[in-house]
Symmetry: C2
Subunit: 358 residues, 2 copies
DNA sequence: ACCAGATGTGACACCGGTATCATAAATAAA
DNA sequence: TTTATTTATGATACCGGTGTCACATCTGGT
């Protein structure tokens, strides 16, 4: 906490009131836009406020009304275009409803997420929009809800949490991606994510805290099952957090047997890293390897070939999430709603026929 | 069924105090971490607070102390990686100092910027970090400063504003870019920006509100002058706000005579649009046209050839800006400082020798 | 044992608004 | 004209913390 400024006491309603020769109550009514006031009083007060340069103190207002015009947002990483676009959707919608937005990063770590939620609750935000980093640790969100602060989860979801959720249809899109790949002859597909884990590999979807990723993996298993392909084991590569680590993953992928013929990138950052690692190693897309990335980032249309993507309209995610939250703030107490937003596959140029296995 | 209608009277220090059998004042001292308290009292209060699940109200705290733990940030567009990276730098630094961050978008429009600044001041933010959209309209920032709220400008700067500034060294980097291009034989270079203007073309740097862009143009003029090249007229193309508009600009550029042989993109979004428009039209980089983009976005290393860029380390911009602001909040009243951060040219693959003019 | 200084504690005013209520003035109804 | 209603206004108690101050209690020095 830091000293706010010089002790220069800002103007208050009382100052305006005395300048306008009315009581504090009357000035407050005029300036706050509530209650009654005669035309003469109104004019006098507004004139005085204008002349003195009065600016209301929203802190004080929030204090006495009990409602704050703030909503809190906790995302994994604003730096990621996925989230910054969603945040833009949230901000635009919130602002239109007269709400301000405080944004925090969890860095996809549960301890930071807890901390940020706690800070936001202390700021008495009216509601929260959170992309929970671990679907198995939601107690902080639950207690927010029980203490009366509505929560909307973004991109992620849990049946345990009585909150609205706005998500992509991850299971369905995963299935359609895998079916599309299977149609092109791919039988061994790996999923690469920046999620961290000890071993660098994951087999069971239960081990995945981010629900969106878990659902995709479940989708793959379902699609494999349907196609009569033995469920792939340890098909998830984790820790693709930078170019170096992603390079090592690509090396492992290329050494795998039976040969992996297609890669799925969990988000556009991972997608870009994979693309760079593959092209650096002389792997040609899509001849030697197919690639599909989640999120239609800007860069996916400057490569040649252009990247095939699962298009997640996250601005819309943000809009919808803010809209749900605003409904709740207006008193809607109906059952929590899970809003599934379609995320269609846009097959540009990086899905080709599977190379023949040896 | 959850009863949402319960009046959510949150816990207060008074509640904790009575549960711990001490006075409100003592409980407040313990919980607020100020003043004196005996070990027994402290333990009783903390135990009671823990048991009841007390959470302090930062609004009330800010109200009575006069200091708020919030800083306001106004950027052109969080969606733009340039700013989202800077915002991350700001957030990380601010958080480490116990400050929270409210982020707003101005959409590079002065009316919105004014509105956002006003909203933030009403929230009684302790300080502001702003990327002012028009160096000629700064009255709202000036009045913030005179009313005691310190301001740091980000990426932009004006001699009229008594505020710290953290900027790239736009003039110098523009000169070095142009000299580099001149060394490769380029004499006719166009600058393309998403800034909007009526005519679509600009000649005079005075017409440019965004100081960073103005300084670059001044740098070009200086570099041209130095090289004995007649100062280019109307070398700035505006309104490159989307792919369609950028395509039209590229058409105009290609029709220009004498032939324009190099393009400069004002930011990475414009850069991506130019790249797409050029490759769509079959223009080969760098054989037919050279391209340099400001900001080293992720996508600049997935194209072939990779894009030559002016590297603006905006995370650092954000960090430095937050650090300056925190110093001010701690009471530093020395002269405003303008911090210039080097933005070196990274010449990857899109600068080639100028094609011979006909 | 006695007083100085340090330590602990509670009562209460304050921050800048909002909201309630009683009263005063203006208007309508009887 | 009198009473009932509406409209306008000011006094004042909040909201949930902080911070001042007076008083009480506990040291310790001589």
């Amino acid at each position: 906490m830091v000293d706010m400024s010089t002790k220069k006491s800002r103007l208050t309603v009382a100052d305006v009131a005395s300048a306008a020769n009315v009581s504090k109550a009357t000035a407050a009514r005029v300036l706050g836009g509530y209650g009654l006031a005669s035309e003469t009083a109104r004019k006098a007060v507004l004139e005085a406020a204008e002349r003195l340069g009065y600016q209301p103190n929203d802190l004080a207002r929030s204090m006495s009304t009990g409602r704050s015009g703030l909503i809190g947002v906790v995302v994994g990483d604003i730096e990621n275009a996925f989230f910054s676009l969603a945040v833009r959707g949230i901000s635009d919608t919130a602002r239109a409803a007269g709400l301000n937005v405080i944004i925090s990063n969890s860095s996809e770590q549960i301890t930071e997420e807890r901390e940020m939620v706690s800070v936001l609750l202390r700021q008495r935000v009216a509601g929260l929009i959170v992309a929970p980093t671990d679907a198995r640790q939601l107690d902080h969100l639950k207690s927010a809800i029980t203490s009366g602060v509505p929560v909307v989860t973004l991109d992620r979801w849990s049946p345990d949490l009585p909150a609205d959720a706005v998500c992509g249809d991850d299971r369905a899109s995963a299935i359609s991606v895998l079916q599309h790949l299977q149609g092109a002859g791919h039988r061994h597909v790996a999923y690469v994510t920046a999620m961290t884990s000890r071993s660098g590999r994951l087999a069971a979807p239960e081990d995945v805290g981010i629900s969106a990723v878990r659902e995709r993996i479940e989708g793959f298993l379902a699609a494999s099952d349907q196609a009569g392909i033995p469920p792939p084991r340890q098909m998830v590569f984790t820790n693709a957090t930078d170019d170096a680590a992603t390079g090592r993953i690509v090396d492992k992928v290329l050494a795998e047997s039976p040969r992996i013929t297609a890669l799925l990138a969990s988000d556009s950052l991972v997608g870009a890293r994979l693309f760079r690692a593959l092209t650096n190693r002389g792997v040609r897309l899509p001849r030697d390897m197919s690639l599909v990335s989640w999120f239609d980032a800007d860069w996916t249309r400057v490569t040649s070939p252009q990247i095939s993507v699962v298009d997640q309209p996250t601005y819309l995610f943000g809009q919808r999430a803010a809209e749900r939250l605003i409904r709740r703030l207006k008193g809607d107490t109906t059952e929590p709603l899970r809003l599934l937003i379609p995320t269609p596959l846009i097959d540009r140029g990086t899905v080709g026929p599977a190379p023949r296995c040896l």
